[in-house]
């Protein structure tokens, strides 16, 4: 009877066997391949790569398969793998102005140089279940294949290049020229903290905050971003520019004396224009918030930009009254692997602590019953 309370090696092994069976599901149904996940669940792959802080579509697909589609579990798997990898160097910052654009929109101007390019977006789909998709072998639908998959997007760069202009000037640069919007910060002189190697320290520099937000939980950041729109730290945002496309990654090699191109990958960037500052001697100027994610991760990039702006409250002399403006609150709780780890640890035995509390509460009740004692 007493033994039944405690777990053991055998119980764990049995649990793992059950899990493997559940993961596989009905063996008569074909097993998922990593190719299928990479291609047909590419937005899940993007989320796992972003919050897992590792760009590797194949490993992300493996993590999703292994986690039965539980994305937070997949993110955890990818992070636990990533942490064992050596750091070979630091790339030069990617230049998103040189992006080969797959999608680019601005909500602040009806038309912009280069035009509004919708690209592959769910924005204007009617959310009607497409029962045609329920039927298998839908390869011959009229969906545009090229626009749909990363790999295709990467492979078809040449055709993309021909279709779209090679680079599109940034929407906010139009306002920068007039001095109506603050200049983006110039290159950071000191190397940024690598949050996967060093603990988060408060107060955090903006680039450190952005790093934490980039790997922060999408749902958490979405809700915080939403809260700023409902008055908890209002910033009057406009989607100045949202762009997705392919950028080149360079890494400096000391022996060569220049930065070596490593390859291209898809990113999504959001440049938010926010309420202006100024008054007195200062000319009124729009401020901005910034979001960047790998893959097609627009919801996260926009949320990140809104939260980034809200967190600049101190820097911009705004009163900090709302959760989204509170750096320690936002950053200390945005990591879903940490959050789920600590919440889930409540499943671990706490007999000793609980026994201590039981003994205490009994003693307190006894003392209350016999006040003279």
């Amino acid at each position: 009877m007493y033994v039944a309370v405690k777990g053991g090696e055998k119980a764990i092994a049995e649990a793992h066997a059950l899990l493997a069976e559940l993961r596989r599901g009905d063996p008569d149904v074909a097993e998922l391949s990593l190719d299928q996940i990479q291609n047909q669940l590419s937005l899940a792959v993007d989320r796992v790569m972003n919050e897992g802080s590792l760009f590797d579509t194949e490993l992300a697909a493996l993590a999703i398969k292994q986690a039965q589609g539980d994305l937070i579990e997949a993110i955890f798997l990818l992070r636990a793998y990533r942490t064992t990898l050596p750091r070979h160097g630091v790339s030069t910052p990617i230049e998103t102005t040189d992006m080969r654009v797959l999608r680019r929109i601005s909500a602040t101007f009806k038309d912009v140089p280069g035009g509004q390019i919708l690209g592959p977006t769910y924005d204007y789909t009617h959310r009607l279940l497409d029962f045609a998709l329920a039927v298998e072998a839908m390869d011959e639908t009229d969906w545009d294949h090229d626009a749909h998959h990363h790999d295709d997007a990467l492979e078809d760069q040449d055709t993309e290049t021909e279709e779209a202009s090679p680079t599109l000037s940034r929407v906010l640069s139009l306002l920068e020229r007039e001095g109506l919007v603050e200049q983006p910060p110039s290159a950071v002189s000191t190397p940024s903290v690598d949050l996967t190697r060093e603990p988060l320290d408060f107060p955090a520099a903006r680039e450190t905050r952005l790093q934490a937000l980039a790997r922060g939980d999408e749902g958490y950041l979405l809700s915080l971003a939403y809260s700023t729109q409902r008055g908890y730290g209002r910033t009057h945002p406009f989607a100045g520019e949202i762009r997705s496309g392919v950028v080149m990654l360079h890494c400096p090699v000391e022996e060569l004396g220049y930065a070596l191109p490593l390859g291209e990958f898809l990113v999504t960037e959001c440049d938010m224009i926010n309420q202006f500052q100024g008054g007195g001697d200062l000319e009124p100027t729009f401020t901005r918030g910034y979001g960047l994610q790998v893959g097609l991760s627009e919801r996260k990039a926009m949320s990140m930009a809104l939260v980034d702006r809200a967190l600049r409250a101190d820097e911009l002399d705004e009163e900090r009254l709302s959760p989204a403006q509170d750096e320690e609150f936002v950053l200390a709780h945005c990591d879903n692997v940490e959050a789920w780890g600590f919440v889930s640890h409540l499943k671990l035995p706490h007999y000793v602590d609980f026994q201590s509390e039981l003994a205490l509460i009994r003693a307190l009740r006894q003392a209350a019953e016999t006040p003279d004692a």
Partner: protein, 282 residues
């Protein structure tokens, strides 16, 4: 029993990371009770499940070490089994359930009943390393409070307990003053275990993975549980002895035996309970 993994470094972590953790630990030993930030890594076990303790163990373990892992005092609880298997697999070290045989003991929520000896290392898993956290949630503030030894709020909290309940209503993670300088969270051990920390011959290391903090109590260091002259610190006691070994001096877990609510009180320290039973039989 387990094959040693070859894809990963000895004890999982790479040597640079271990060195970084050891540097943190040296600083922690030099300033007893002070929380040292460290570049905590993502481990293959979840945050909150002992990643801090695991990283400390990985940083100090060698091939000749004998490892014991306990959770709630017991060697056979699922998470203790899991962590022990992790090191058996990644480091190929010998493991034991016998407190006196172990060179390293990783623990969650207990200090073994058997007295530790010089040369042993006790490694605590810590969820919230900041003893002032539930009084002041901001790290920037609590850091200042430690720097200035501004611990009045902690005494106020304990006093409020006495005003409300007639006694200090903290039964585990009971705050201690280390080496007369830093107030420290002893991790969620029952206050029953607090006196064992004082002047302990073993080295006590603490790792908080999610919060990325290390701290330490070197051997033979003063560790005093906070209290008041008229409300001195007291530990828990039980009316009945252990139902298995008859011990009257160990921390007892309460086990509900049937639907009628019959209770059995047994040692939380399974190794200690075994020794007592063997002594009674022999």
């Amino acid at each position: 029993m387990h094959e040693t993994l070859t894809d990963y470094n000895f004890a999982y972590l790479d040597e640079q990371t271990k060195r970084m953790i050891r540097r943190g630990l040296l600083k922690a030993v030099a300033v007893p009770g002070l929380q040292i930030p460290f570049g905590g890594r993502e481990m293959p076990l979840p945050y909150g499940w002992g990643t801090g303790g695991i990283q400390v163990t990985a940083a100090v373990i060698g091939p000749d070490d004998v490892l014991k892992v306990i959770d709630q005092g017991a060697d056979d609880t699922t998470n203790a089994v899991s962590i022990r298997a992790f090191f058996a697999k990644t480091a190929g070290v010998a493991t034991t359930e016998v407190t006196t045989e172990a060179t390293l003991i990783q623990t969650r929520h207990r200090i073994p009943e058997t007295a530790l000896t010089s040369g042993q290392i006790l490694i605590y898993q810590v969820p919230i390393p900041e003893p002032l956290r539930f009084i002041e949630p901001r790290e920037t503030e609590t850091r200042k409070m430690h720097a200035l030894s501004e611990y009045g709020v902690m005494h106020v909290k304990l006093y409020e307990d006495i005003a409300q309940f007639g006694q200090i209503a903290t039964s585990y993670a009971y705050p201690v003053l280390v080496n007369g300088r830093y107030v420290m969270d002893p991790s969620p051990i029952p206050k029953f275990d607090n006196p064992k920390m004082h002047q302990n011959p073993a080295l006590q290391l603490f790792g908080a993975g999610r919060e990325k903090r290390l701290y330490a109590v070197p051997p033979y260091t003063d560790v005093v549980s906070l209290d008041f002259e008229d409300h001195p610190f007291e530990v828990q006691s039980w009316d009945s002895p252990c139902g298995l070994c008859g011990s009257t001096d160990s921390f007892l877990d309460e086990v509900v035996m049937d639907d009628a609510g019959t209770r059995l009180f047994i040692c939380s320290d399974t190794d200690y309970c075994r020794i007592q039973r063997e002594r009674a039989d022999g």
